[in-house]
């Protein structure tokens, strides 16, 4: 059995999005309860939150943006950049704790303390652009972790797999000119859902051409289409790229019971996706797979989805 880290901290509940917002603190509670109920807590290495050093945040976001985020947040504003991005005065700190927790997990994986991990953080990150908050995201946790791994641990090739049902516009744009980061995303077709990017013809720019890949899923489709596309697109891409570590933007919002999308993944379908990614991690990345939570809003399903997710990491 693998040594699997589970980044979990009640501080992540402090980011308050107000009433009726789908990206709520209860999501993390549902995830914790699911893992606890399955009796998996003893087998996991629990990792607490830790604040990120701003120098790592600045490898992705502009100083101007970080300052603006802090000012808007502390001034008591309820939204930032778009009305979607509901926040409270703790949001800025919580975002730093989310990014910092993920960095600490990266460090532990690189030093061999743990083999792989699931980071159950809030706020999520994959929509956050260099200079703009978007789609409930403020700091791009996965992008910051990517830069940290490259600069602090000498990783040359980072593979990012994003299976949140929405396209990770932020992550794609941050790395689209960079051939050292392969960004693969599978999501609902952008003409039918937020944010409207991640078209099949977006394949990277300049030097980074060929290092971005998007698989688009039409409304109503489910497990079999995901399997077909991942086999057709992701597997050959990673065989060529051979990532030294895999970061996963994990979104459970493609589940058939999740109202945020029109695609119909089942709980089993989600397991297949994660098993496939963990296999890729074993093939190319010495098993180093770090999963970071993005979306997933169906509280009734998050428990079982998270349980299966960490079980697959444990069995890695």
């Amino acid at each position: 059995m693998k040594k699997t880290g589970y980044l979990h901290d009640s501080m992540y509940l402090l980011h308050d999005t107000g009433p009726y917002h789908p990206e709520m603190a209860d999501r993390l509670t549902a995830i914790y309860k699911g893992i606890e109920k399955a009796g998996l807590l003893d087998q996991l290495t629990l990792i607490p939150a830790i604040r990120a050093d701003i120098k790592w945040i600045e490898t992705v976001h502009t100083s101007e943006y970080i300052r603006r985020f802090e000012e808007v947040c502390l001034s008591g504003n309820r939204t930032f950049d778009y009305p979607d991005n509901q926040m409270c005065t703790d949001t800025y700190e919580t975002a730093f704790l989310a990014a910092g927790g993920v960095l600490d997990v990266c460090r532990r994986v690189m030093t061999g303390e743990i083999d792989n991990a699931f980071c159950a953080v809030r706020p999520p990150g994959h929509h956050a652009e260099q200079n703009e908050a978007m789609g409930f995201c403020y700091l791009n946790n996965v992008a910051i972790a990517t830069r940290y791994l490259q600069m602090e641990h000498g990783i040359k090739r980072v593979g990012v797999v994003d299976f949140d049902v929405h396209h990770g516009n932020g992550t794609q744009h941050i790395f689209e000119k960079d051939p050292t980061v392969f960004y693969y995303s599978i999501h609902q077709h952008p003409s039918f859902t937020f944010p409207g990017t991640g078209r099949e013809f977006e394949k990277g720019e300049d030097e980074g051409q060929g290092y971005t890949l998007n698989s688009v899923v039409l409304p109503g489709q489910g497990d079999d289409v995901y399997q077909k596309m991942i086999q057709r697109d992701l597997l050959p891409a990673f065989e060529r790229f051979k990532p030294e570590i895999i970061l996963v933007s994990t979104g459970f919002d493609g589940h058939m019971d999740d109202d945020m999308s029109d695609v119909n993944l089942t709980t089993k379908g989600y397991s297949w996706i994660m098993e496939t990614i963990v296999k890729l991690g074993g093939l190319y990345a010495k098993g180093r797979v770090i999963s970071v939570l993005e979306g997933g809003y169906c509280l009734d399903r998050l428990g079982e989805l998270a349980e299966n997710h960490v079980r697959i990491l444990l069995n890695g």
């Binding site: 789908p22 778009y82 009305p83 979607d84 859902t193 937020f194 409207g196 039409l218 109503g220």
Partner: protein
């Protein structure tokens, strides 16, 4: 919405006595497909397109099989020999809608834009129109499209817009498909949000039918009941 706001004003032109090779070179290096020709008073006298050039000298002819004599003849070919004289133009006061309908009717890729005296003021291509329409669709901004079936009755659209406003959601655009089932229309608001769960529920509660995304269409053949 006049074409003057969407056209390219710095037009790249070519002299009528330039060689066709030169015209070809100019198009390639500027990434364009149309070169208007003006006289010394800036009056439009013709236009040459990459299609005109291709049909005059097929690639094969120049590069491989063409004889020296043929090539010489082609090299001597001037813009004025193959340009379209008095091409279809549009006025500065034309609207985007005029231009769109004209392009569909005349099957051309671009129109020179002229003033009352026939002076060249700009050029408007399909590419420029597309840019304008991507802008009105709002799809350059992050958002979610929703499809709603409404009966053709006064005030339906207002109710939808009110519901969206109550949810504090900004509208990127609203498209209306005019041909739908008899007595019905399809309305597609583009909502600048990731959070459409509540507005969808609200619209359902108001009695609207949300259309299955796989059946969305902007111009479908109406179905008689």
């Amino acid at each position: 919405m006049f074409v003057s706001q969407s056209m390219v004003s710095k037009v790249i032109t070519i002299d009528k006595d330039a060689s066709v090779f030169e015209a070809q070179e100019k198009m390639a290096s500027n990434g364009i497909r149309h070169l208007p020709i003006v006289n010394s008073e800036d009056i439009l006298i013709g236009i040459i397109t990459d299609r005109d050039i291709r049909s005059t000298m097929p690639y094969r002819l120049i590069k491989e099989t063409g004889s020296a004599k043929e090539r010489e003849k082609l090299a001597g070919l001037k813009v004025k020999d193959i340009m379209t004289q008095d091409p279809q133009t549009i006025d500065l006061t034309y609207t985007i809608q005029d231009a769109l309908l004209m392009i569909q009717k005349k099957k051309v890729g671009a129109f020179p834009v002229v003033d009352d005296n026939g002076k060249l003021k700009g050029i408007l291509s399909i590419r420029d129109l597309l840019r304008a329409f991507i802008n009105v669709l709002g799809i350059g901004e992050p958002g979610t499209l929703v499809g709603i079936e409404v009966t053709e009755r006064v005030g339906q659209l207002k109710k939808i817009v009110d519901a969206v406003t109550e949810e504090n959601i900004s509208l990127g655009s609203v498209l209306v498909a005019r041909t739908w089932d008899e007595g019905k229309r399809a309305v597609f608001p583009y909502l600048l949000t990731n959070n459409v769960v509540r507005i969808k529920k609200k619209l359902s509660d108001l009695g609207y039918k949300l259309i299955d995304p796989m059946k969305w269409s902007l111009d479908r053949i109406p179905k008689k009941p």
